[in-house]
């Protein structure tokens, strides 16, 4: 899967899901939640983002609570998150929800806010279209890649249930 977009860099380590989207907004419609993403770090951020932009984060991005902060980022139009490393729950929630997330150690020094980048999960590369440089990141485990390629947990289950039904009918 390939995604190209403009970078917003949050280089801090350990940005937690409460910072990505505070729990006091969790009952609001996603469109409303999207107006508050990462506001405790940069109050202007929600107003500056354009659909298709890519977030770049530090180590342990999305640590903390398992509440679905990724949905708010998606509602805001964020197309992918590339980080030095991810909190496990945010990472799994994002893959499940169809938000492209790629761990890429070294990415914080490789891109800057405003750069255009291309993330290719199959090849395991991040290309900085602004500087022309390209870097390797570890490809996702095969199982996760399949889910990502299909678009998340629901399309994955659809394919899986259809396969199971076919196998059942054939048996």
């Amino acid at each position: 899967m390939k995604v190209t977009g403009t970078v917003w860099k949050f280089p801090q380590d350990d940005i937690n899901t409460d910072q990505i989207r505070r729990s006091i907004y969790s009952h609001l419609p996603l469109k409303e939640q999207a107006k508050h993403c990462l506001e405790t770090i940069d109050p202007e951020f929600p107003a500056k983002v354009s659909p298709g932009d890519i977030l770049v984060g530090g180590k342990n991005f999305g640590c903390g609570s398992s509440r679905p902060a990724h949905l708010a980022l998606m509602a805001m139009g964020i197309a992918a998150v590339v980080a030095e490393s991810f909190g496990r729950l945010f990472f799994r929630n994002s893959i499940s929800g169809g938000l492209l997330v790629t761990p890429c150690p070294g990415v914080v020094d490789f891109v800057n806010t405003g750069d255009r980048i291309e993330v290719d999960t199959a090849a395991g590369t991040v290309s900085n279209l602004t500087t022309g440089a390209s870097m390797k990141c570890a490809p996702l485990p095969a199982f996760l890649r399949e889910m990502v390629e299909l678009g998340g947990e629901k399309p994955y289950l659809k394919a899986r249930l259809a396969r199971d039904a076919k196998a059942g009918a054939g048996a």
Binding site: D14, R22, H27, P29, G64, S65, S66, G87, L89, E153
Partner: protein, 423 residues
């Protein structure tokens, strides 16, 4: 070949298909014994789940008989918006005949082991990040995150087998120092990425002598190390605790001798004093002395980290014959109704009332910052909840994490205080 960890054996037993062995990072398709869900606050998510299940053609939930639904965050609802969200979720489960706890039953992580639903050797699936708490009984208790829809639709989900780190704890605690201080010390030393994506096993002579209440506290704070799950090998103390609570058969799994842990960390708790995690991270840990005397507006005792009977007992001991400082709100939120009932029976709640503490119904309380003790901008709080992230309990407030004893002593003093002088 270095053998397998008990957690891997538990996973394999619940896997489809069952591999002979596992390597860390390998994904297994797991059928859990228990699938727990917390009532959400957002109606939109319930609508989405409803339509996803319809789209996938799921009519009856495959794990229906193993489901437990909890109303623990923001319960009873503090705002019209949250009330509407919770109502929608309740309707989702009610229409499917799935029982739910009421708004006074308490926190999922306490209730399930308490009622013998989570037992040694079982796999419990729950999205909440503090699911590792239940690893204290020797269960595989990882937060599932992505995987909810699979559990609703397929009755299975995917878990990557974890690498396991050993945290070996030796020594005996001095007076005024408690299990929560040990947990904070570990959080400080290893940091928020100290066990990122791994499992942590707590072992050593200190853990062997530890009560179940404090084992839960240790396992709970594994989450703040970034751990996938926490684990304590069941022993006599575990089995005595579990046996009176469950009719379910269960199987204790042992780690193979010679198992190669990913990392081994040694701790000696004997010289440890009271610990505090200063704002705004659970690993920003200092000796209490460094922040002693800081004036506070609120003290909070509760949460899945420290809302158990032992925690309330020590607070009651400290408050007996004393009063909460007139400028401080001291809020005590028992972790479960069982805890509240026992604390009432034993006279702890009476002592807290006499001291002008505010005792609430059992739930998450102030911990997620949704009600029951929201902080005003500029407020300073001392709390034994799980996290002190920026904005967690109220915007522009400062939260210091500490043991229930330190919280109670500070509530009396009106400033961060050492419990030693109150015990």
């Amino acid at each position: 070949m270095s053998g397998m960890h008990a957690l891997h054996k538990i996973l394999i037993e619940h896997a489809h298909p069952k591999p002979a062995t596992v390597t860390p990072g390998e994904f297994l398709e797991i059928e859990p014994d228990v699938f727990a869900v917390q009532i959400g606050t957002n109606a939109e998510y319930a609508d989405r789940l409803e339509s996803d299940l319809a789209e996938l053609g799921v009519k009856t939930l495959p794990l229906k008989e193993r489901m437990f639904v909890f109303l623990d965050h923001a319960a009873p609802a503090p705002t019209p918006g949250i009330a509407a969200g919770q109502k929608r979720w309740q309707q989702f489960f009610r229409s499917r005949g799935i029982p739910m706890t009421d708004a006074g039953a308490g926190i999922s992580h306490l209730i399930m082991p308490e009622r013998g639903v989570v037992v040694p050797g079982c796999v419990v699936a729950l999205r909440d990040s503090h699911t590792p708490t239940m690893g204290a009984v020797g269960a595989f208790a990882a937060s599932l995150a992505g995987g909810m829809l699979s559990l609703f639709a397929l009755g299975r989900y995917w878990i990557d087998a974890p690498a396991v780190s050993l945290l070996r704890l030796e020594g005996k605690l001095g007076k005024g120092v408690f299990g929560r201080d040990v947990a904070l010390h570990i959080n400080g030393r290893l940091g928020q990425r100290g066990a990122q994506g791994k499992a942590v096993e707590f072992a050593g002579s200190f853990v062997r002598a530890l009560s179940m209440d404090m084992r839960f506290t240790l396992c709970n704070m594994g989450t703040e190390l970034g751990a996938m799950t926490s684990y304590v090998q069941p022993d006599r103390i575990t089995l005595d605790w579990v046996k009176g609570r469950t009719k379910k058969p269960f199987k204790v799994r042992e780690t193979d001798p010679g198992y190669q842990y990913d990392e081994v960390h040694e701790f000696n708790v004997s010289d440890l004093g009271p610990q505090v995690a200063a704002p705004h991270a659970p690993d920003n840990v200092k000796a209490l002395g460094e922040v002693e005397g800081r004036a506070i507006d609120q003290a909070f005792l509760g949460s899945c980290a420290s809302g158990r009977l032992e925690d309330i007992a020590v607070a009651a001991t400290i408050l007996k014959g004393r009063k909460v400082h007139p400028e401080v709100r001291f809020i005590v939120t028992p972790g479960s109704r069982e805890v509240l009932k026992a604390a009432t029976r034993l006279g702890y709640i009476e002592a807290l009332h006499e001291a002008n503490a505010i005792v609430t119904n059992a739930n998450c309380g102030a911990c997620p910052g949704l009600h029951g003790g929201i902080l005003a901008p500029g407020d300073v709080a001392i709390s034994c909840n799980t996290r002190n992230f920026v904005g967690r309990m109220g915007a522009d407030a400062e939260v210091y994490l500490a043991s229930p004893a330190t919280v109670a002593a500070s509530a009396v003093a009106g400033r961060i205080a050492n419990p030693l002088s109150y015990l």
